[in-house]
Symmetry: D2
């Protein structure tokens, strides 16, 4: 562990930042040595500047770090970012210019042509965009992003269908409250209730999977040519976004073929045994009432995506349920896996 790579976190005191702190506290490759936050927190100990909102208690190894301003300089080369969208553009750019590798959970750079939007099991090859990014922008560093918390399980669940030609998919999400940060959703709004709207969410869910599932052609991502429609809802669940999905395919595989494709689905993280990689990235549950967020989401540290109820759709071809941990696989854990992939590619 003595030769672990030093890493930092931008926006460390927020909810996603706290998840980074937890995931990195015992990481075999990375060592969290630097935390950046707003000027208000800078100079304090992380333990004093941060109201810990996650289950359990703050890792001791992190509590004693001194919070820095979010400026490049003394930060390690590799920084994870969970900056608020309203400041992420400027700050992440400053870090990339200054030579840092910014592995970001923020939405700001996700849809740029020269920025990888990664789900390592699905499109790890999109890391090739970094070369163009550095050339275009004159950066010594780079920005790599992970998708929105709904887009991750959606893209992963659809990945095995891709070879059959995905032409349309429609999804309804039932999203956990932890996705809204802290304090996020007021308890008065969600106890015993459903909120059929999440600001800004549907465009991301409709757009991001097309890039993730796109093919790298001549150094550019050719988006998946499919129509997408999303209905996003908040439900009284702590962690785990559940999605219903109907999908139309150009080719017509049997259910057996699809199940085989889903269950044998593996990617670079599994091949290379990356530390955060779940052994089986897409777990198909055969019970008719699974997956369920409260019961299934903790498996393998929150990095598994679950599927169930694969059955014919009377409008499209197939319909199913999928589930992913929104703050781990859909946020901090996604970024950590991205960094692990980059390290295994020699990019750090």
């Amino acid at each position: 562990m003595s030769s672990r790579i030093e890493v930092g976190v931008l926006g460390a005191t927020g909810m996603v930042g706290q998840n980074f702190a937890r995931l990195l506290a015992d990481h075999p490759w990375f060592k969290l040595t630097w935390v950046g936050a707003s000027d208000r927190s800078a100079g304090k100990k992380f333990g004093d500047a941060t109201s810990w909102r996650l289950d359990g208690v703050m890792p001791e190894s992190v509590a004693g770090l001194t919070v820095c301003e979010c400026k490049p300089g003394n930060a390690p080369k590799l920084v994870f970012s969970s900056m608020d969208a309203n400041v992420a553009t400027e700050i992440e750019q400053q870090f990339a210019e200054a030579g840092h590798i910014v592995v970001s959970n923020s939405k700001n750079f996700r849809m740029y042509d020269d920025v990888p939007l990664l789900v390592p099991e699905v499109n790890g090859d999109h890391l090739a965009l970094i070369a163009a990014q550095q050339k275009n922008r004159g950066w010594k560093g780079a920005i790599v992003t992970n998708p929105n918390c709904v887009a991750v399980p959606l893209a992963m669940a659809l990945a095995p269908f891709k070879k059959y030609g995905i032409s349309k998919f429609i999804t309804t999400s039932m999203q956990a409250v932890s996705g809204a940060g802290y304090p996020g959703v007021a308890s008065m709004d969600i106890l015993g209730n459903v909120i059929p709207f999440i600001g800004g969410e549907e465009p991301k869910v409709e757009e991001e999977p097309l890039k993730i599932l796109g093919d790298l052609e001549s150094g550019k991502v050719k988006f998946l040519n499919a129509k997408v429609s999303a209905h996003c809802n908040r439900v009284p669940v702590v962690d785990g976004h559940t999605l219903t999905v109907s999908v139309e395919l150009a080719e017509k595989p049997t259910r057996e073929q699809l199940l085989e494709d889903i269950q044998s689905f593996r990617g670079l993280p599994q091949e290379r045994k990356l530390p955060s990689a779940p052994p089986v990235p897409l777990v198909y549950m055969h019970e008719d009432n699974r997956p369920q967020p409260r019961r299934d989401i903790p498996r393998d540290g929150g990095m598994t995506v679950f599927m169930g109820r694969l059955r014919p759709c009377s409008i499209f071809d197939w319909k199913f349920v999928t589930l992913g941990h929104n703050t781990i696989r859909g946020a901090a854990g996604a970024a950590v896996l991205n960094a692990e992939l980059m390290h295994s590619e020699g990019l750090l």
Copy 2:
């Protein structure tokens, strides 16, 4: 009130039966004088035979009724039925043969050619099937049914779209626990969770709206010729089923036209000012995060269906949210409104 019509309830001690008891306790036209239940309860006072599961307390006027066996004879001509599906076929048939009007919430007879499956605002004219029913079956009485608790708001929300030619619709439901009766869903299964499956529900949701939205032609219902796909889920909500819906139309109205159609939608219950009719059957809410089950479902005694978020769908034409009270508008209240419609037609 002295000349109110005497009515009975079959299966009175169950959850839907209790809802009947509550709705009929102060009804201006009907007077609950007879309650039927299993042999186990027969002979006891309703108040002793029944564990009251609804909010509030049992209406006193009902507590003193003596529970009878579910046999025709001394029962009033008009009986509401909330029998379990495994006994409803035989018992409802016995009552209809014996001359009773059975207004049933059970699923058993819903899809028969000669049985009306009513949402009074939408297809009150389907009551004309009764003539064929009595002729075919040699019954003096009749059976009239209301739809499944998801099918009601779905059919009602789609009714204003009908004139534009509905060709496809897909829905995901987020259903309240009260729909499963008592004890129904175990708290261990649903607290902080989503269950992506409800046994037997999806076929009903895919089938029933096509009959409800069908046209009466030459004494028969010609089903709506549309493709339907449903994803049904249980969420930790007490009352109120929330649905996301995407719909494809043959014609292409503007959003303004549709909103006008939705907001001006009225039916026979409103025209005739039936006692249980909500003044506006389909309430469109303009706030972007409404309707919500906990906040909206109590309006007008649970008989209003709500809609919101009407917006273009990138796959079909339009998408929206709809919400209805599952145990009132989707069960006991639906049957009471059916009976009121029949009374206003002179059929009782």
Copy 3:
């Protein structure tokens, strides 16, 4: 209704203010014609300045009122106050000096010697403090307060025990989230959880009942001479605070005597049939698992206090459960009932 008394609300846009708006929208004696809020809202229509957080929708009669600054002058003589504690002292004082009757839900003046802290069924006679208040302070108007939302059901439930000499009582509260205002408790904090602490609550719960249950002697309130200990907790309930209580008495009545005392308990509001008075202020439920907040709290518009499970306590004399609606009987409804009592006394 044409001769209704015009009233105003200070702090009208907050949660308690919205409850005032709802309760006053159709009040037979009072007409809400004036709403005051922060400078930020002043000049806007109430409907535009206010995000409605209660179930259902904003009453139309209120939506059109123009929000004023919280300054005396054009406000009606009678104003209800739901000001934040950090500004209530100054503003309520200004209004009282200027001749207004301030019926306040704020905590600031509750414990002053010359300010009535009322539960009208229990200590309506404490209104006599107003004379001293006006004399001491040189006010033409007056301030009258209602207790904390836990203190109300606690004092009311203990009132029938008072004649037996209450020497000690200990209580544990399980409090609803609506008591914390909006946004109040974060959903991340309370979903599937208990928070065993509510800032500043226990001192109020231990102190206020002693004043409410005190006797007016020579124009002053002689506090009840009892020891009190409170444990306050937040639970995932929307409305309704549930309390367990153990109480020690000087005399030793039988359970039958106590039940008779509880069930026959009535006060001035019942005697004078005040508009907001519940017919039975203290409803004892004999089922062994009642009262329950979700099932019982809506009765009689939220003004009923419930009791149940009266049984011997092996340490003190008796133990029981009590329940009250925190935002109605424990806040806005309490203040409205106070004003009704004052009107019936000719004090407005």
Copy 4:
């Protein structure tokens, strides 16, 4: 692991039985090789006979065991019991007579003079009762029990106070739904609600701690001579019982002394490093709003008991909050720790 002790579970298909299966699946000392259940299940594979109700999935090593009838004979010497109370007396007795060590979670034998009711950190020495038990009853085997799920954290939290002379304690519990087994509490009853009653619970909570905290004198347990009063409630929490406690002491330690006693509290399980022993059995949390069930209960596999908010009580001496995992530390985990203690004593 090859020399692990073979163990069985009586009542293996129920909720507590499933917890046993999970805890024993990877136990370093014990190997689950035998599962007993009702005749209805006997002969089937455990995986087929059991609807898995816990989070996650059934351990594979257990799924393949064949369910046996609950009769001694082929069962291993050590059996854990989670039999229903209505059959536990007879079956556990049969096993003890036949020479089995029955480590039981059932309530039936807890209060017998010659049966240990253990919390290993508190009264491990009560195992000495076994000698009398075997002599009195002529058994070759023995029955050892663990307390009720509320009594465990209550006794453990009070243990550090014992040396100061506990004379009275009063507690209000806020209990999780998992304590009621499956299906247990209906979701209709508990969503957004509190149920102020749990059948048969209060007598156990008032009685068992006095035995646990009692002293072994001349081979008998002399119960703690204290008065106890309990108020038991169900709240919408999945796992973890939260208790408020007020306690009166003969001596008057300072808060610092008590905190020191609590934080330094250790027992035989810690001393001997038993596999299921938490490193710190009683964790005091200094944050004013902790412990909380959802956030704290998973620590150390559910075996830690938490305390917080130690402060003076204006009626007794001290009041505080305590929290324990009801299905682990309060049921299956408690029994496993009992068996580990017995093994460390050479009693297996």
